[in-house]
């Protein structure tokens, strides 16, 4: 275990302390897991606007005449389809298809890209980028120290950030340079909560002023605890829980983010997996009775829970699990061993929240 004094601190550390955060070690960083309480913060994001410090996320900048050729080789999705000022979700895979990380890539200019990595994978990703950059006319730069990152999420997020900015905010899956609260930054129409909102990529020295402006304007500070319950209701994968190097994109349900025809590293293995069909498949589920599923809980007849919590919005236990493929269909029922108790569960469609057919108007 890393002791607290070896952990990296966000430039917003003092703000978190002042807001009464509980700080915990997370992927080598000391980050806020909650302020007022996970459920309260969760509801604030579903009904208003919350602000998350996600400065632990890593960034890799790739530039130069062959930057997009390099990224096309590294990333599973079709990078050529990202317009300037666009964003795209993709995976980094090993040759055998094992998932190294899931990343968001922003195209800042024709030959300039910013890839956002998971904190726990950043060093590994950077090494992977650099190792494969040989032979390409492209520069790979570690930008993790250059940027703080704030996610403002919720039905009121755009209105709130819009009131602090000088121009129109980028639409979903787009990004642009804007001045927010007097600070120039990259604003992206992305997030990890299932709500509309923006992510702000800003210099670390300016981050506290931006945080203050957002909270003064009414954004509720929200921690990694609420980020996890929100993403799980929305059925977004968490690297390390729902996929890792031992899983390929097809079994993880991420085949939609893979374009084998681009020839990315791992494309052959992904194509073979897609053709053969997976033995196990990741599915969202809900318990049909009481209890709370947790990662590692075994599924009767084969399979395992990879994420689980009590859904603050639905009031029931929810999660994601790998199930034998023939049982991985919505409506299928199964049983989970939750610390010695048998809990009945049902495969659901994604997202778990809002439930299909019941989206808010």
């Amino acid at each position: 275990m890393a002791s607290t004094d070896t952990l990296k601190r966000s430039p917003l550390h003092d703000r978190h302390r002042a807001a009464g955060a509980r700080l915990v070690p997370f992927a080598g960083w000391e980050m806020p897991v909650q302020y007022a309480g996970i459920r309260e913060e969760h509801v604030a994001v579903r009904t208003g606007a919350g602000v998350f410090d996600v400065s632990h996320m890593g960034q890799i900048e790739t530039g130069g005449p062959q930057a997009h050729d390099l990224l096309q080789r590294l990333i599973s999705n079709d990078v050529r389809k990202i317009p300037e000022g666009g964003a795209q979700y993709g995976l980094l895979c090993r040759e055998d298809g094992g998932i190294l990380d899931d990343v968001f890539t922003y195209r800042l200019a024709e030959d300039h890209f910013l890839t956002v990595t998971n904190a726990s994978n950043h060093d590994k990703d950077l090494e992977w980028f650099r190792r494969h950059a040989a032979g390409y006319d492209a520069d790979v730069n570690d930008a993790i120290e250059s940027w703080a990152m704030l996610a403002v999420q919720g039905p009121r997020a755009r209105e709130l950030v819009g009131g602090l900015t000088d121009g129109r905010l980028p639409p979903r899956m787009h990004c642009c340079q804007r001045t927010v609260a007097g600070v120039p930054m990259l604003v992206a129409g992305t997030g990890y909560t299932g709500e509309d909102g923006v992510e702000l990529i800003v210099g670390p020295d300016d981050a506290p002023a931006v945080w203050d402006a957002l909270t003064s304007a009414g954004a509720t500070p929200a921690g990694l605890g609420a980020r996890d319950t929100l993403r799980l209701e929305a059925c977004f994968h968490l690297y390390g829980n729902d996929m890792d190097e031992g899983r390929d994109p097809i079994e993880a349900g991420l085949g939609w983010a893979c374009r084998e025809e681009t020839g990315f590293i791992g494309a052959e293995a992904v194509r073979a997996a897609r053709e053969a069909g997976p033995a196990e498949k990741l599915v969202p589920f809900a318990l049909t009775g009481e209890g709370i599923p947790r990662p590692g809980n075994p599924v009767a007849g084969g399979g395992v829970v990879t994420s689980g919590t009590l859904s603050p919005c639905l009031g029931i236990g929810i999660g994601m699990a790998y199930l034998p493929a023939q049982r991985a269909r919505p409506g299928e029922t199964f049983e989970i061993d939750v610390r010695g108790r048998t809990r009945p569960a049902e495969v659901r469609e994604k997202p778990l929240y809002p439930p299909k057919g019941k989206e808010a108007a």
Binding site: V33, Q34, G225
Partner: protein, 128 residues
């Protein structure tokens, strides 16, 4: 959520559990510190009466949004009653950890074990 407190009339176990001893029956619960570490408690299944509990061993579990934690018995004995109200209102463990948030009443099998528990002052200093 309740204010931090460690009442003087209780005895404390190092795993952040309290006992209120009345004759040969003791009431158990978790301390303010324990509930604060857990965060919002969202699930508690009251253990069955008649089950025996062993000092220092888990006798039930309590779940917050984030995680599940064992609850450790501060003394040995047999459960004579458990707090059924926590089934529908587990938040009482946060709101009132020494009152409405009590978990079980236990008929003690070895009342001398109380000598191994801490008083409020000793428990408070163990947290510092």
């Amino acid at each position: 959520m309740a204010e931090e407190s460690y009442p003087d009339d209780l005895l404390y176990h190092a795993d952040h559990d309290w006992a209120r001893i009345e004759g040969d029956v003791a009431t158990f619960g978790i301390t303010w510190y324990a509930q604060d570490q857990l965060g919002e408690v969202v699930f508690f299944e009251p253990p069955e009466a008649g089950r025996s509990v062993e000092r220092g061993e888990p006798y039930t579990e309590v779940e917050s949004v984030k995680a599940v934690s064992d609850v450790i018995a501060p003394l040995s004995g047999e459960i004579v009653e458990s707090n059924q109200a926590l089934k529908d209102g587990p938040e009482a463990i946060n709101d009132d950890p020494y009152g409405a948030g009590w978990m079980v009443k236990v008929r003690l099998s070895d009342p001398s074990q109380r000598d191994e528990l801490m008083d409020a002052a000793a428990y408070r200093s163990s947290l510092a």
